[in-house]
Symmetry: C2
Subunit: 398 residues, 2 copies
């Protein structure tokens, strides 16, 4: 970690708006050199927040100038109509003036409570304050400034060597409730100093998301604000082109970074006491595998049982039985951290209540589900459903 203090072409700074949160930095600006290519993926929820709509537009702008990300935590600026859009644009305009760039070169992100308006005066002031203090190494502060119900920052770095050249990856994310594919209340910013075309960057980004942020679920709920940004600053003399060994290496490193961030999100999921990997194998199709994995991962009965250290395989089998694309459960086998639970739809003859009761107390559980119908597979990462999840979410606004 210590080796990667900065990514060439990226500077960051945080400040406090003193609006929703008191005494903490809740506003972030990230300034990216004009050499960069940027890939942005946004929520698939049809209820989109104003900043998302603007970000989707602004990211298309290809002016040869600096780009600035502005992020505020606390207010999602979603469900706020025309005023919400005008507010977000006002922030963009003000920040654009500071850097003497077009407002289209400023890309806004918001996370927090839905349906409340930004205090634009305070918010713009915060961005102004932040702009005076840009540094290349303040990643920890940046990762902390975007948090809402998260209990800790999620920051990952990775160094890749190609002969005597090296490229760096550094990124951070937030999100702990309203988490499901389509990114949920998830904000993620990942940077590399490699040089990559926009087309290739978009492709890599989309493929990696499918098995990282789009393969985690806390509660099945998705948010109007989710955004994942992947930036290649192009500051290192390592140009990545399609189909090369270098591309493969970068792709797998980025994959690792996104998987790590996804895992950190699940570990810090609201009220979570366990990180649970649901691995579906031998499915007839990817679609069937996905459907089974998500149905089990989002079953409140499975999640509460695991919270209670109860390897209630009947509930797992019942969830599989209602998943789309399942015809019968005669060929289904299930194991928990390699201990057998179910064989061909019934309790496994090798099932040992004693061993299972011990293993289910682990903080890391792997539920392997073999459908017995084909060769496709899909894995989902999830958390348990605890009394604390209910406590946190019944009190979020108050």
């Amino acid at each position: 970690m210590s080796k990667i203090l900065e990514i060439g072409g990226v500077k960051l700074s945080t400040a406090a708006s003193n609006s929703r949160y008191k005494r903490r930095d809740d506003s972030l600006i990230i300034v990216i050199d004009e050499s960069a290519t940027i890939s942005g993926k946004f929520t698939k929820n049809k209820f989109k927040a104003s900043p998302i709509k603007i970000a989707e537009q602004h990211i298309k702008n290809r002016s040869k100038e600096k780009r600035v990300f502005i992020v505020n935590a606390g207010i999602a600026n979603a469900g706020t109509g025309k005023k919400g859009k005008a507010d977000a644009l006002l922030c963009c305009e003000n920040v654009a003036n500071l850097f003497k760039i077009k407002k289209e070169s400023v890309i806004p992100f918001s996370t927090g409570v839905i349906g409340e308006f930004l205090d634009t005066k305070k918010q713009i002031k915060a961005f102004q304050n932040a702009s005076k203090n840009l540094k290349s190494y303040t990643w920890n502060k940046a990762a902390s400034s975007i948090l809402t119900t998260d209990t800790k920052p999620k920051l990952v770095s990775k160094l890749i060597k190609f002969g005597n050249k090296e490229i760096k990856i550094k990124g951070f994310a937030k999100g702990s409730g309203m988490i499901r594919p389509d990114f949920a209340t998830l904000l993620s910013f990942v940077f590399t100093d490699a040089k990559i075309s926009k087309t290739l960057l978009d492709k890599i980004h989309a493929e990696i998301l499918e098995e990282s942020f789009e393969a985690i679920t806390v509660d099945g709920d998705t948010s109007p604000n989710d955004s994942s940004m992947l930036v290649a600053t192009g500051q290192k003399e390592v140009t990545i082109t399609k189909g090369t060994k270098e591309e493969k290496k970068l792709r797998s490193s980025l994959h690792r970074v996104y998987k790590d961030l996804a895992s950190m999100l699940i570990q810090d999921a609201e009220g979570a006491t366990k990180e649970i990997s649901i691995q579906v194998l031998q499915a007839r199709s990817k679609k069937q595998a996905r459907s089974v994995a998500f149905t089990v991962a989002e079953s409140p009965l499975v999640k509460t049982a695991l919270f209670g250290n109860d390897a209630n395989w009947g509930r797992i089998l019942a969830a599989i039985g209602r998943a789309k694309g399942i015809q019968n459960v005669f060929n289904v086998s299930i194991s928990l951290n390699k201990l057998p639970l179910v064989c061909k739809g019934n309790i496994d003859p090798k099932y040992s209540e004693k061993s299972i009761n011990k293993i289910v107390k682990s903080k890391n559980l792997t539920i392997k589900i073999s459908i017995g119908e084909g060769k496709e597979k899909f894995s989902v990462l999830t958390s348990d459903l605890s009394s604390d999840y209910v406590k946190i979410n019944s009190k979020y606004r108050s």
Copy 2:
């Protein structure tokens, strides 16, 4: 209620098996005269319990003789393989011998924990004891004997008059977790003394279920044991034929009975503190209406917010935004017990935080969602998600 003490052609009796539950009647037999027609609808979960598979077979048997329902609570006899099936058949055979009928005329039902075997010796003894004490009026005992995590029995009666003739309806149900369409861990037994053909009875049954038991959800989980039985004993000289005024009247009365039972199930849902009706209007299709209604009804974030007396409309809108078949939320309006929340996808100008904060504390909430795209509608009944739900379900087996 007091007017309907019995349904001609039906006798009931309960006993204790002293297996899973101590000191309570957990075994029920219902003896139905040979004049009856019987309609049975079973779980759509692909993971079916042994008794369900047998019940589906036995119900097809049209022998002109008495039929006997046998029900045990505590053990679901699901995920128990060949032995489970043999156990259920053994119970059927023993009861058949008591009444000198074919084993195919005995229809078995089980509810309770998955993956454990019946103690057939104790269970058969209980059915034998029950068979010695058949009465026409012991409905309360019957309704209580089938309960598992339910806190109270659910029993409904209704009298219909046609001129100077009258017919009766009486029925009971159980189920409080693992509740979703496809009946979940739901057992329901409804009887009328009218005379109705099997074809018409099946049709009425299916149509009514669609808007009662198939329109409620506690947690989205479904069970391998769900069964709904509708019996017309044909003891009264009122023959119901298709398309008549009488049929319409009976249908609407049965509808009321099923709606009442469904509502009682939701009121007694695990940990529930509120009964919440999600009414979707102005949808493009029934499918779209259903999808929106269920997505909102099963959103953990919506359910926890309502538990916390927080009318967090942003979460409702976010759930609508991820429902299948939704293109945008620009035309969506939402109200809570007639107070405006959302208008055209944004906070309603008439929104009053004070009034809303008061109304959201009610035990009965109606969330009306107008999609603004068409004329179809669908309503779902659900409960909130409380800390007690988690407590109950993390400790169910221990």
